[in-house]
């Protein structure tokens, strides 16, 4: 059964008039939804923003982190606040639906109460509502849309390409999209998206002559106002992901190119200039302080669900910086009041997408059913039952990653295991059955091969130091926006404030100090070098074997480093 909100309310009225007993949960949900999604219209130019949905077509659970450390200038500043500190920073009431959406607090219980989040059918309903109340509104997609599920991988991104068109995305930029290879991205841009969705990225150029690969920006007319949307793809795609998949494309932050694109858009008549960015929030904040003429940066990549924008001052004025979380959990709604050729005022709200409070859109729901049908059997294989909560997000480890490294050590007979610090991947509640689909939500990438390497203690330290610097370099332009590599077997201490090469110490394996000259057997997955192509079976096959054998996954303690110098940092809560 599918009905719109008005029909639902009418039915409720009839039901109560007829003396029928109402299920109090439904009534409560409807009342809460009323409050949450009745967003008064403001101004004359509206932009809707989603980002990093990671191919999650169905509603899921997603636990926000309890460790998201800020160092240097970012200490204690959003997004580097968690839990109670987060609520305080944004003036949110504890215990409500929003507190649940934005923080990890009391996660399992609250998740059972409020239900799953996201899902393209529910998101679609919300998008339609917002577009109906805001004529001319555009839907912007910050990227990481085509990767993150079994069906996206097996359909070579086609399921998400068609879902994006059906959802009504107008403009998008890229990150994981590139891991389907340059040819596939261009094919989708030129065929599937032609006349429907613009891909924008001012910072992608050819490696030889630095020719643009995509449009740097597009100008759209919204209620008579020219609005420029400048694209910024993930600057470190060929470093964080395999370069051999886009060998002729160069990325980078390209601050000067951004200024030139903004100036060109203004010169062309744009009265509003926004950036659709996959930089990550810290990079966006720095960029906003140095590039002038941008009204707002709609950010993603670091998966920070920010209830309010950060206002950044620069020599030309002020720029709003937002970040819209991940996994289809949120929709950002920005209303601009544009008068006399410029933005005079704004209202912004990041709406959580609660599947129970938003009926599924019929057309999208039936599309999702159809596209999943050929794979249902494979996806629904039951692998094991988890006794504890499984989640990924956090600077150093998550219970899902702990499970992956435990599985790698067991299946590969290794002493140590590494798992990449990805920020995508959905959550499961205690008692949930782990299906193949859930495992693929953590692992579905185009370079899923497992590796076993003999590494010296010195190399192991070099790896940890390298990744730690990508996360904790005090200059955001040197950060890549992922989390720390997850480590199984090995204990260490980490001092995020120390300099490059000096953060990692006290590396121990089973009570013994790691020796620089000794070699250790290290298992891992997701190698980025072309030489490591097909190095071993796909990680989901290895972990599925482990889960089938274990049957029941006990709640296991996280292997976390001993942190130094982080006392009182509001980016960590234990």
């Amino acid at each position: 059964m599918s009905m719109n909100r008005r029909e639902f309310l009418q039915l409720l009225a009839i039901a109560s008039a007829g003396g029928m007993t109402l299920h109090s949960d439904i009534a409560r949900a409807e009342a809460a939804a009323e409050k949450l999604y009745e967003l008064p219209k403001f101004g004359n130019v509206s932009l809707l923003h989603m980002t990093d949905c990671h191919a999650q077509l169905l509603p899921i659970y997603f636990r926000e982190p309890n460790v998201n450390l800020g160092v240097g200038d970012m200490l204690g500043r959003p997004p580097h606040v968690v839990g109670e500190g987060f609520l305080k920073a944004f003036g949110l009431k504890p215990g409500g639906a929003e507190a649940h959406a934005f923080t990890y607090l009391n996660f399992s219980e609250a998740a059972r109460h409020y239900g799953k989040v996201g899902g393209f059918a529910h998101l679609s309903t919300l998008v339609k509502r917002m577009k109906a109340s805001r004529p001319g509104a555009l839907l912007l997609d910050g990227g990481d849309t085509w990767q993150g599920s079994g069906t996206a991988l097996w359909t070579n991104a086609q399921d998400m390409v068609d879902a994006s068109k059906l959802l009504g995305v107008d403009v998008m930029t890229l990150h994981w999209e590139s891991t389907y290879g340059a040819e596939r991205v261009k094919e989708i841009e030129e065929k599937d998206f032609a006349g429907k969705i613009d891909i924008v990225a001012q910072n992608v150029r050819t490696t030889d002559f630095e020719d643009p690969v995509f449009k740097p920006y597009v100008i759209k007319n919204i209620n008579g106002i020219p609005v420029a949307i400048v694209g910024q793809a993930f600057p470190y795609t060929p470093i964080a992901n395999p370069r051999w998949m886009t060998p002729n494309w160069s990325f980078g932050i390209q601050e000067q190119g951004m200024q030139e694109a903004v100036d060109a858009a203004r010169a062309e008549g744009a009265q509003v200039v926004v950036v659709l960015s996959h930089n990550g929030m810290d990079v966006d904040l720095k960029l906003a302080s140095r590039v002038t003429g941008i009204d707002a940066i709609f950010g993603g990549h670091t998966h920070d669900g920010m209830p309010a924008p950060t206002v950044v001052s620069n020599s030309g004025g002020k720029t709003l910086v937002t970040n819209a979380g991940s996994n289809g959990k949120f929709l950002g709604v920005m209303d601009f009041d544009v008068r006399g050729g410029k933005v005079m005022d704004f209202r912004y709200k990041l709406l959580p997408v609660f599947a129970n409070m938003l009926p599924a859109d019929k057309e999208m729901a039936s599309y999702i059913d159809k596209v999943r049908a050929p794979f249902i059997e494979k996806l629904s294989e039951k692998l094991a039952v988890t006794e504890g909560m499984l989640y990924r997000r956090g600077n150093f480890n998550g219970s899902w990653d702990q499970l992956l490294v435990d599985a790698l050590i067991a299946e590969k007979d290794a002493e140590i295991a590494f798992s990449p610090g990805f920020r995508w991947g959905t959550s499961l509640l205690p008692g949930d059955t782990i299906t193949m689909e859930h495992l693929l939500d953590q692992t579905a990438i185009t370079y899923p091969w497992t590796t076993v390497t003999e590494m010296s203690g010195e190399t192991i330290k070099a790896v940890l130091e390298d990744v730690a610097d990508n996360l904790f370099n005090p200059d955001p332009y040197y950060q890549q926006g992922g989390d720390m590599v997850r480590v199984g077997g090995l204990q260490y201490s980490c001092d995020p404030n120390a300099g490059m090469g000096k953060r990692i110490d006290n590396m121990m394996l089973q009570g013994k100090r790691i020796e620089p000259g000794k070699t250790y057997k290290v298992a891992g997955w997701a190698p980025v070098s072309e030489a490591a192509k097909d190095s071993g079976p796909a990680v989901w096959d290895v972990v599925a074997n482990y889960l089938r054998t274990q049957k029941v996954i006990s709640q296991r303690p996280l292997n976390l480093p001993t942190l130094k110098g982080m006392e009182g940092n509001p980016g960590v809560a234990v």
Partner: protein, 155 residues
């Protein structure tokens, strides 16, 4: 995309730019070698390279700008550009502090030429990159860190 430019250069094969110019009779091979500062290119330390160039300890100048990635996509070919806004710029040199031979390139800028150069350098590890500019007989510099990372593990 400028396909004609691509085709022309492809037709040039593997000769490289100097080779092409020499083959076209535009420059004589000896000319390319005449200004070769062996001492500076063989230097193993920053100080030694600077002194072989006669630069001493140049002062930092905001009129010298380096354009280069913050993190190299491929350490084997890192694009580095230098622009000098100093009047009478005669020479622009690029040094990679942590390279075994730190002077990577030196460009002589003839009068009337825009002091704006671009090249590709090879880097084995994270290092400061120096642009040293000689203008009106004096030396100036700018520096920027370029990270060379192992890769992987992102977002």
């Amino acid at each position: 995309m400028n396909n004609q430019r691509r085709a022309t250069l492809k037709a040039g094969g593997g000769l490289g730019m100097l080779g092409l110019l020499a083959a076209a009779g535009l420059i004589k091979p000896e000319l390319a070698e005449a200004a070769w500062n062996k001492g500076a290119f063989d230097a193993k330390t920053l100080d030694a390279a600077m002194s072989a160039m006669g630069a001493g300890k140049p002062m930092e100048s905001a009129d010298v700008q380096i354009s280069a990635p913050d993190i190299a996509e491929n350490g084997a070919v890192v694009p580095v550009g230098v622009v000098s806004n100093l009047p009478n710029t005669e020479q622009i040199s690029i040094m990679i502090e942590k390279n075994p031979n730190m002077l990577a390139a030196s460009f002589d800028i003839p009068a009337g030429t825009l002091p704006d150069v671009q090249t590709r350098v090879k880097m084995g590890q994270t290092s400061d990159v120096y642009a040293v500019v000689k203008a009106d007989g004096k030396f100036y510099m700018a520096k920027k860190e370029i990270k060379v990372t192992l890769g992987g593990c992102g977002g």
